[in-house]
């Protein structure tokens, strides 16, 4: 694989471009994510983004990641995800299309990536154009002495949206956060579930479905069912941790069963 890459590189990428790509490696921290890196690499191809060779770009990117690994540079996970995706894209583009295969074609995926790159570049340019505009306080100015004629003293209190949201956040994240009083009737707690289950588990010598431990009258209303299910399950885990019961589930979505744990096992 690495060998093949080397071949491709010498074939398609000139020496100066390879040097440029290596210079990039040293500076990996300067990139704002894999898309940014891809765009920078794409620019070294020196063609219209829409005509860019996605195969070559994928190879450039993969070579970059290889090089970074060689230099033992930490690459964030999203760079590696992109590498995996590009390897996939490359294989799709190089291999003849498999008619039985589901999903978008390699060309479609490549076209979308080209679109993303072009859009990112367009936004970069737009940002640069925006910042190059005349700006207030630098190129043009507002009135230096806003006038207050006739001082009618009236006090007005004000607050910003930020104050408001931070105020709300402050309340809702207080450690002693309590849910709404009118919500409470629909909420079952782990404590209550524990209280309910503790006296009952002594009888669970055989495997018993967890559903049996749900509180009475909490089925039907979906909100209450969810809360009770969660509380019961949480209590179950707590009991497992305390070594009082065992827990099993045959397969995903199968009923969860519990059994009293024999005291001598402890």
């Amino acid at each position: 694989m690495a060998e093949q890459q080397q071949l491709f590189n010498t074939d398609r990428v000139s020496v100066s471009e390879r040097l440029a790509a290596e210079a990039l490696v040293v500076d990996v921290g300067a990139f704002e994510g894999p898309l940014d890196l891809l765009l920078t690499l794409a620019r070294t191809q020196k063609v219209d983004l829409l005509q860019i060779s996605m195969v070559a770009l994928a190879e450039q990117y993969l070579a970059f990641v290889e090089k970074a690994k060689e230099l033992r540079l930490e690459l964030a996970a999203d760079y590696l995800v992109m590498a995996a995706w590009l390897a996939f894209l490359k294989s799709r583009l190089l291999l003849p299309p498999d008619p039985t295969e589901e999903g978008p074609s390699g060309e479609e995926l490549a076209a979308h990536l080209a679109f993303q790159l072009e859009r990112l570049e367009a936004m970069r340019t737009a940002a640069a154009n925006l910042m190059a505009r005349d700006q207030k306080g630098r190129d043009f100015f507002a009135r230096g002495i806003p006038e207050d004629v006739e001082r009618v003293r009236s006090v007005r209190y004000t607050a910003t949206l930020l104050d408001l949201m931070q105020g709300y956040a402050r309340i809702r994240t207080k450690d002693e956060f309590r849910p709404f009083v009118f919500d409470r009737e629909h909420i079952d707690t782990m404590e209550r579930a524990l209280e309910r289950m503790k006296p009952l588990i002594g009888y669970a010598k055989e495997w018993t479905d967890l559903v049996m431990y749900m509180p009475d009258g909490w089925q039907g209303d979906s909100m209450r069912t969810r809360s009770a299910t969660a509380a019961t399950f949480a209590a179950t885990l707590e009991l497992v941790k305390e070594g009082k019961i065992e827990l099993r589930q045959g397969e995903t979505f199968a009923p969860i069963q519990i059994r009293r744990r024999a005291p001598r096992d402890g």
Partner: protein
């Protein structure tokens, strides 16, 4: 006080139009008034507010049109900012103003790009910004832009999860000398090139509909 003015205003409306014509000061005088009000304020002033502060029967829009002409080519210009008007010094004279220059808070590249994306794509959700930049929007970037009063929350999107959107503010327009967001440089070209489209990746549905919870009971136990 506003009520009072409104009440009087309504009275006049019920009377004959010619009377209110006599009441209104001559347009030259109205121009002076608009000039004084705009001059005294460092913030843009809306036509509505001008109307509220000037004697009834005045036509601030007309006065503005006259005033704008008068200030053409002067050291100070009358500019439109969104729905409001403001007097600003001519940009070509900025070099004389070192003393007044305000140190603009240094913005990161991420913040600048995020700002541009919001301006060109507004109203835009956080997920859409991240899709365009290919990275998550870092803590504090949005915060900073809100604090600078360059962006604000817009209407929620009518997509699953009803995510909040961001739009640019009048302060943003004022700062960059734009009459409206439609006047952003290159906007038309970007639009006709399809670069402002919200194009979902092939094989994916809508982009923004991520985090809606399924009502399925089973989900309760799935860790993510």
């Amino acid at each position: 006080m506003v009520d009072e003015t409104e009440a009087t205003h309504r009275d006049i409306e019920t009377e004959e139009a010619e009377i209110s014509l006599f009441d209104a000061p001559p347009i030259g005088e109205q121009e002076r008034m608009v000039e004084a009000i705009l001059f005294a304020s460092s913030e843009p002033v809306t036509i509505r507010e001008l109307e509220g502060r000037m004697p009834h029967g005045c036509d601030p829009a007309e006065a503005i049109a006259h005033l704008r002409k008068r200030y053409e080519g002067r050291g100070v210009r009358l500019v439109k900012v969104g729905e409001a008007w403001a007097l600003r010094t001519a940009p070509d004279l900025g070099y004389l103003m070192q003393k007044e220059t305000i140190e603009v808070r240094k913005m990161s590249r991420a913040a600048i790009e995020t700002l541009a994306i919001i301006a060109y794509h507004q109203p835009v959700t956080r997920a859409e910004i991240e899709e365009i930049r290919g990275v998550s929007v870092s803590r504090g970037t949005i915060d900073q832009l809100i604090e600078m009063e360059w962006i604000r929350f817009g209407r929620r999107k009518m997509t699953p999860g009803r995510p909040v959107t961001f739009v640019v503010t009048q302060e943003f327009l004022d700062h960059f000398g734009l009459e409206s967001a439609r006047d952003l440089p290159g906007l038309k070209e970007l639009r006709s090139a399809g670069l402002l489209d919200n194009r979902p990746p092939p094989g994916m549905g809508q982009l923004s509909g991520e985090d809606d919870e399924d009502d399925d009971q089973g989900d309760l136990f799935i860790e993510e």
